[in-house]
């Protein structure tokens, strides 16, 4: 009875270092719950740290059936050596079917090492997860060949099936304060010596409104042609109560900060409205915005691939269209 609760299940690694990483974990719990239902398994969230009570409660409120918790002062800092040792020990003992983590900076460092330790494969930066009907295997969709193609990967011969998943791909379940779950505290065992010494921590600069939370996102691409024109997107976003995103070429051009990058190597957004100006529709970009409820494309090239995924397309030069749009909105605000 106890063994079945942990083994053969779907595990999500809890990364709670800040708001952003915690949201990724909650998104994965929601998706893991969906997969667990399809496979008739349990969804288990794994959390390590010194004081993890509040995160365990949060994961139960967001859909985890079971929380596996490891509390030890030696786990207070996210350290790849210690976390790999503990999680590898638990995975070898309890044998989950699937192991997921957010493709955060820590997930990207931690999971490849863990996969090597467990002699299994890892699909990195997945943008979709599904179950193969006939086999029950996890189909891990991940960009490949520089993002030009989406590869569907399965891991039939080794367990667990491991994947890191891009933040913002899935929607978290609503917080349910009346939820109950199970919490399990396995013994942690000896921790390895930490070979990396953290000298200092510097908080990342963030905006007041997070791009990932914006209901309206105005995104610009290199097709805008100039930094000045790109700058008009900020006013457009302000008038609509939203925020500004950018494609990789626009970031490379120095028109926007790296933190505004959308897509495969940047942020995934799911706004109610996305206005995309001067973007061609490269897969690296569209994987990050495909969750938008309504997409409006503005591009002077009527054959731009982006029009294929847009709900509404406006063929026109941004130099002409943007001032007209801003004038119209200013009169309404």
């Amino acid at each position: 009875m106890k063994k079945n609760r942990l083994s053969d299940s779907i595990w999500v690694f809890g990364d709670y270092r800040n708001y952003f990483q915690n949201r990724v974990t909650l998104q994965l719990i929601a998706k893991g719950k969906e997969l667990a239902k399809e496979l008739d398994k349990q969804l288990i969230a794994v959390v390590l740290g010194d004081q993890v009570h509040q995160y365990a409660m949060e994961y139960v409120a967001h859909g985890a059936d079971v929380v596996v918790a490891g509390e030890d002062p030696g786990l207070m800092e996210y350290q790849v050596d210690t976390y790999t040792a503990v999680l590898a020990r638990w995975v070898e003992a309890f044998k989950p079917q699937i192991l997921l983590a957010g493709a955060t900076s820590f997930g990207r460092e931690f999971f490849p090492r863990l996969a090597k330790r467990l002699h299994t494969g890892l699909s990195a930066d997945c943008v979709a997860l599904d179950v193969e009907k006939d086999t029950g295997l996890l189909v891990q969709t991940t960009p490949s060949f520089g993002g030009e193609l989406l590869a569907e990967v399965v891991t039939p011969d080794h367990k667990p099936q491991m994947a890191t998943v891009h933040p913002g791909i899935f929607r978290e379940l609503p917080h349910d304060p009346d939820a109950f779950g199970c919490i399990i505290y396995p013994e942690i065992g000896p921790l390895p010596e930490i070979r990396v010494k953290r000298m200092r921590t510097r908080p990342q600069q963030t905006h007041d409104i997070r791009l990932e939370d914006a209901a309206v996102v105005v995104a610009g691409g290199i097709g805008l042609g100039s930094k000045e024109l790109f700058g008009m997107l900020s006013e457009l976003a302000d008038l609509l109560g939203g925020d500004v995103g950018a494609t990789r070429p626009a970031v490379y051009a120095g028109w926007a900060e790296e933190e505004r990058l959308l897509g495969q190597t940047g942020k995934n957004v799911r706004p109610k409205l996305l206005i995309s100006v001067g973007t061609s529709g490269a897969l690296q970009y569209t994987t990050g915005i495909q969750g938008a409820e309504t997409i409006i494309a503005i591009n002077r090239d009527p054959n731009a691939p982006f029009f294929k995924i847009a709900d509404l397309g406006l063929v026109g030069d941004a130099v002409t269209v943007l001032p007209l749009l801003l004038d119209a909105l200013r009169k309404r605000v």
Binding site: K2, R5, H53, Q54, A56, M57, E58, V60, A61, V67, R89, W90, A93, F94, H175, D176, P177, D178, A179, F180, G181, C182, I183, I184, Y185, P186, E187, G189
Partner: protein, 159 residues
Amino acid sequence: MIRYQESTISAYHNYLVNDTLTPGFSVGDPDSQEGFFFLADMVQSGEPAPRISARILDDHGVPLVELSENEIRKNSGGCIRQPPSGGESLILLFSGAPLLEVNTRSFANGYLTIIKAKLFDENGELRMESQGKSIRVYGDANLTLCTPFASSHKSSPPK
């Protein structure tokens, strides 16, 4: 095989007992009219504070104080209750030594209550004592209450 301990957890409020989270627990028999008991009742969503009922005795089995849902009902030991502040509730012995400390920490979406005490039953046996950040419980106990005691028993704790 790795050993592990298991408990039920509430998304809203838990107590820390025997180093695990639990929505509620009882030690001894909360229905008893004279003997020791300690009931940390389940807190439902929306309630901001834990509900503690207890009959507390000294280490010779002599009654000191009775609590019913956080309120002092009988106080033969002349115990002193300090006004609750900042999620902390404290009951002192007449001598001024701490008898029972209940500390509730609030998180973004829930609460965790930590209890500190050294409590004995009518036979002078140790039944609860603080150990690290947790309270450790000995003897007859129900370590998982998933419904409020009053709704799952024929009678509420004695008042």
